[in-house]
Amino acid sequence: MNLDLDAAACAFRDEVRDWLAANVPAGRLPSVDTPQGDAAHRAWERRLADAGLAVVSWPLEYGGRAVPPLHALLFEEEYHAAGAPARIGQNGLFLLAPTLLRHGTPAQRDRILPPMVRADEVWAQAWSEPEAGSDLAAIRSRGRRTDGGWLLSGQKTWSSRAAVADRAFGLFRTDPQASRHRGLTCVMFDLRAPGVTVRPIRQLDGDPGFAEIFLDDVFVPDSDVIGEPGDGWRVAMSTAGHERGQTLRSPGRFLAAAERLVALWRSGDGRDAATRNRVVDAWIGAQAYRMHTFAALDAPAGPFAASATKLFWSELDVALHETALDVLGARAETDAAWTDGYLFALAGPIYAGTNEVHRGIVAERMLGLPREVAR
């Protein structure tokens, strides 16, 4: 076992570090889910894209660097350590794009990825419905066959980024006769198309981070279907694997937050041992996540390991931020950086499949316990 970085990895890390030091905006950008923040974040994404740093793991032809996964992790560590802005394009970059690279056609990749990389098109994900949250197979929104494409109808909810995004992707029931997991199709659609109504929902933090989407016979061409019609469940599960796994929640973010927490502890007063222990545990958790991710580079995780990872980072995120608030005490209330982070962390155990669902998956699929309910 070793933790050595080869010369190429070191050189890449140094290049990223230098570029970020020279380019990261001073001060925080407005929230990504507000109009001002939308513009500022899109401008930042273009800057990243121009430097070839938007998605370093992607193939060269789509603006990536085709670097190995280790380099991508190092990029994330540097990105978060530098305090760089949240990624407005994350739903597209880290959820839709890997799905297209695996299940999409070359024409879809050529058409969709370049504007995604430059944030000229920002994507929302449209999985959940009022009756289908963690139980995605209960989806009711329909796609009806029409000449040259499909007509989408129904309602999506908790659609992240939909209030500011340009396009969305989600699952639609295209064969009402088929059983739950069958008859679903993965479709991309325009959020400004006729028949689409977007109603922003204010989150706990006050921002319209998600929205309801109402669809009334919205036309999408066949070219916007990902994979085969009726095969949407399989396509969506590979996307969900990315969502639950590490791409969206890179260890770099937790490491940076843990370092800030330790610094906060060091500079604070009233440093009791109980709180100190929680600070240390949060730091240990971030290190464990980092090392676990490094280890996974050499031992590809099983199909259900993403559930264990999601459980770990989402609980760690809450613990880390709750500890920071307790270290700050009454002053925490006015510390926007930590309180925003805390409110964001509270969503972690809920989205991408609730933690109860994932504990069930770990218990049944990883540990081999008997099924609790028929799924």
Binding site: M1, N2, L3, D4, L5, A9, L70, V262, W265, R266, A273, R276, N277, V279, V280, D281, W283, I284, G285, Q287, A288, Y289, M291, H292, F294, A295, L297, D298, A299, A308, L311, F312, E356, H358, R359, G360, V362, A363, E364, M366, L367, G368, L369, P370, R371, E372
Partner: protein, 330 residues
């Protein structure tokens, strides 16, 4: 960078697992608890033949000088089987201490015997190790402090809540080394011992989870296996996650323990994480087993109590957390 075991290390673990599975460790532990160390010594001798005892000993003294990564793999397997005796002492801390003292006469005398499995060593190192564990069954008993390393005279014996352990008070005997070099040697030896203890904890935690899962699959209550109840599933899932994320910290600490300036920090983090995961596994395993797990005859208690004493010795969680913070804010 590589943080997962090599194929060779996986084979080494499998060999040790088979060896210990065949050795009837529960019976050996029972004899050990009754004061009969012979079967335990025989197992240790067979482990030595498999290369375990010489992992921390250089080749010139008959060991393999294999490094900390192999050490944690072996210690995890010994923890998995709840092998009795001063494991972390004999496997890791005492060889490392003798080596770090740099006294060839001491090394010539003891290291070949340790590597061959003919010598079992106990160690007291207050405050982390206030007593010498199982000194009655040891051929070499040391007392390590900040100012000196000494041979130890053993005094009164105390029972442990781990019924296989006996704890001996010690008083200073002949001085082996003094001064700053001795203090540095003790620090390095303790880090290796802590690492081995953390690995034992991880192995014991995994064994407890396996036992709980096996029981939950077959034990029927209210007309169905208890493993179908969400409350049981979620408890065991949380244990699995805790163990899964403790292991990479242990392996990372095995990488840095020898050289990096983060060694103390990383070893302490590994001890906290492995101890916490193992403790969680112990609580969950007893809860899932119910009353049968609380009986001496079932045997689950060997792991339950060993986990608890290993989290309390080689530095408590509070001591290691304090050390992590001290290192982070140095």
């Amino acid at each position: 960078m590589r943080l997962v075991p090599t194929a060779e290390q996986d084979r080494f673990a499998a060999v040790l697992h088979d060896l210990l599975s065949a050795a009837d460790v529960p019976a050996v532990a029972e004899r050990w608890a009754q004061g009969d160390a012979a079967p335990g010594r025989a197992v240790w001798s067979r482990l030595a033949d498999a290369g375990v005892a010489g992992l921390a000993v250089p080749e010139r003294w008959g060991g393999t000088d294999a490094g900390a990564a192999d050490l944690v793999i072996a210690a995890e397997e010994l923890g998995h089987h709840a092998v009795p005796g001063p494991v972390a002492e004999t496997l890791a801390a005492v060889p490392a201490l003798l080596l770090a003292l740099g006294d060839d006469r001491l090394c010539d005398k003891w290291l070949p015997e340790l590597a061959a499995g003919r010598v079992v060593a106990a160690l007291a190192a207050p405050p982390w190790l206030p007593y010498a564990t199982d000194a009655h069954a040891a051929d070499l008993v040391l007392l390590a402090g900040d100012d000196a390393v000494r041979l130890a005279r053993t005094g009164a014996a105390h029972a442990s809540m781990d019924y296989t352990r006996r704890l001996f008070e010690v008083s200073p005997g002949g001085v082996l080394a003094t001064g700053p070099d001795a203090a540095a040697a003790v620090a390095r030896a303790l880090d290796l011992g802590v690492l081995a203890a953390a690995a034992q904890l991880l192995g014991a935690g995994c064994a407890l989870l396996e036992a709980a899962v096996a029981h939950a699959r077959t034990r029927v209550q209210f007309g169905r296996p208890i493993g179908r109840f969400q409350a049981v599933q979620h408890k065991l899932a949380e244990v699995a996650v805790a163990l899964e994320f403790a292991r990479p910290l242990l392996h990372a600490a095995a990488v840095t323990v020898g050289s990096a300036d983060t060694a103390a920090r990383d070893v302490s983090a590994a001890k906290v994480a492995c101890g916490s995961a193992a403790h969680q596994a112990a609580r969950a395993a007893l809860q899932v087993h119910g009353a049968i797990g609380y009986t001496r005859e079932h045997g689950l208690g060997r792991w339950l109590t060993k986990v608890r004493v290993l989290t309390l010795t080689w530095g408590t969680a509070a001591q290691h957390r304090a050390r992590v913070m001290a290192e982070l804010t140095r």
